[in-house]
C-alpha cells in the first residue's frame, strides 16, 4: 500500500470517528442528563405540584417553534394538575424581531394576556417576521387583544422586561441551549425525532 493511501485512510478514519462519535455522545448525554432548571421563572400553565413539568425555551420568530405549537396546544388542554407548561424566552440573535416579540408578550402578560399574545404572535409569524419594522403590526395585535397600548409601550421600554428576557437567555445558555424550541420534561432534555413525539413522551412521563 502506498504511503499516501495510508495517510488518507488514517485521516478518513479519524474524521469519521470524531464526527460520528461526537454525534453519538451528544445524543446520549442529552438523553441521560437531568438539568437543574429554575422553575420559579417563566410563564406557566398548570400547577407547581404537577407530576410533569415541561419547560420550553422558545423564540417567537423561529419557524420550528410555530410548527410545534399544535402539539403544545394539545398539552395546554390537558389536566393542569398533572401537566405544567412553562414558557421561557430564548430569542435567537439571527432573528430581527424576536426580542421585540418576546418583550411584547411579556408586556401583554403584565395585563394578564401573555398566552393570548403568545398565540397571536405565532399565528401571524409569517407576516411580521418578513417586515423591516414590525412595531405597527405588533400594536395592531395589542389593539386586537384589547390591551392598553400606552401601558404596553411603557412596559416594553422599561428595564424589568428586558432583565426578565435576559435572565431566561442566560439560563438557557447555562443549560447549553443553542437552538429553539428546546424542551425539558422534568429536567430531562428532549431529543425529539418528530414533534408528534412530544405528546407521547409527556404521556410516558405521566405513567412513570
Amino acid at each position: 500500500m502506498k504511503y499516501e493511501t495510508k495517510i488518507l485512510g488514517a485521516i478518513l478514519i479519524i474524521t469519521v470517528v470524531i464526527l460520528f462519535g461526537g454525534i453519538f455522545l451528544l445524543s446520549r448525554n442529552q438523553e441521560n442528563n437531568i438539568f437543574q432548571i429554575d422553575y420559579s421563572r417563566g410563564q406557566k400553565i398548570g400547577s407547581d405540584s404537577a407530576k410533569v413539568r415541561m419547560v420550553e425555551f422558545s423564540d417567537f420568530e423561529c419557524l420550528a417553534c410555530s410548527a410545534v405549537e399544535p402539539y403544545i396546544v394539545k398539552l395546554r388542554a390537558a389536566d393542569p394538575s398533572k401537566i405544567q407548561l412553562i414558557y421561557r424566552h430564548f430569542p435567537l440573535s439571527q432573528h430581527a424581531h424576536s426580542s421585540q416579540a418576546a418583550a411584547l408578550a411579556e408586556a401583554a402578560g403584565e395585563q394578564g394576556k401573555f398566552w393570548e399574545m403568545h398565540d397571536k404572535l405565532l399565528e401571524t409569524q409569517a407576516k411580521w417576521s418578513s417586515m423591516n419594522d414590525a412595531t405597527a403590526f405588533f400594536m395592531d395585535l395589542v389593539k386586537e387583544l384589547g390591551l392598553d397600548e400606552d401601558k404596553i409601550k411603557q412596559t416594553m421600554a422599561g428595564n424589568v422586561i428586558k432583565a426578565k428576557i435576559d435572565s431566561d437567555v442566560a439560563e438557557g445558555n447555562s443549560l447549553g441551549i443553542s437552538q429553539t424550541p428546546t424542551f425539558f420534561v422534568n429536567g430531562r432534555k428532549l431529543d425529539l425525532q418528530k414533534f408528534e413525539d412530544l405528546d407521547t413522551l409527556v404521556e410516558q412521563e405521566l405513567k412513570k
Binding site: 478518513l12 464526527l19 445524543s27 419557524l63 437552538q179 431529543d191
Partner: protein, 142 residues
C-alpha cells in the same frame, strides 16, 4: 488542468468538508431543532419543508453517504493513479450529486423560496469535487 494526484487530494479534502457539513445537518435534523444559520434565516424553513426528506430519508443523510463514498473512493484511488473504474465511479457519483444539488437549489429558490446556508455550502462543495474530477480528465485527453 491539474494532475490526477492533486485532483484526488482535492476530492478527498472537499469530501471531508462536505461530510462535516452533511453530518452536522443530519444531527440537527434528527433532533428536530432549529438549525443555526450563519447567513439568513432560511435553514429552518428548508428543514421544516416537505422537501427535507425523500421517501422518509432526511436529505443530509444522502449527503453523508455521498461524501463518505467519495472520500473512500479517493483513498482507494490514491493507491493506483489513475484507475479507470474508480475515475468512472467518481465521475458518475459527482455528476449525480451536482444534478441533485441543482434540483435542490431550484426547490429552494423557486418553491420553498428560502435559502439554507449549509445546503448551499454542500452544493458548492459538490461542484468543486465535480470540477476537480472533470479538469483532471481533460489532462488525460490532451
Amino acid at each position: 488542468m491539474i494532475s490526477f494526484s492533486l485532483s484526488n487530494r482535492l476530492i478527498f479534502v472537499f469530501s471531508l468538508l462536505g461530510l462535516s457539513v452533511a453530518s452536522f445537518l443530519f444531527y440537527k435534523y434528527g433532533l428536530n431543532e432549529s438549525v443555526f444559520c450563519p447567513i439568513g434565516k432560511g435553514c429552518d424553513i428548508v428543514r421544516t419543508s416537505s422537501y427535507s426528506h425523500i421517501l422518509g430519508i432526511p436529505i443530509p443523510f444522502l449527503g453523508v453517504v455521498y461524501y463518505l463514498t467519495m472520500a473512500l473512493l479517493s483513498v482507494v484511488h490514491s493507491h493506483q493513479l489513475p484507475h479507470k473504474l474508480v475515475r468512472k465511479l467518481q465521475l458518475l457519483a459527482s455528476t449525480f450529486a451536482v444534478g441533485f444539488g441543482v434540483y435542490l437549489t431550484f426547490l429552494e429558490v423557486f418553491v420553498i423560496r428560502a435559502y439554507c446556508f449549509w445546503c448551499l455550502m454542500s452544493f458548492i462543495i459538490s461542484v468543486v469535487i465535480f470540477l476537480a474530477i472533470v479538469v483532471s480528465r481533460y489532462e488525460i485527453r490532451n
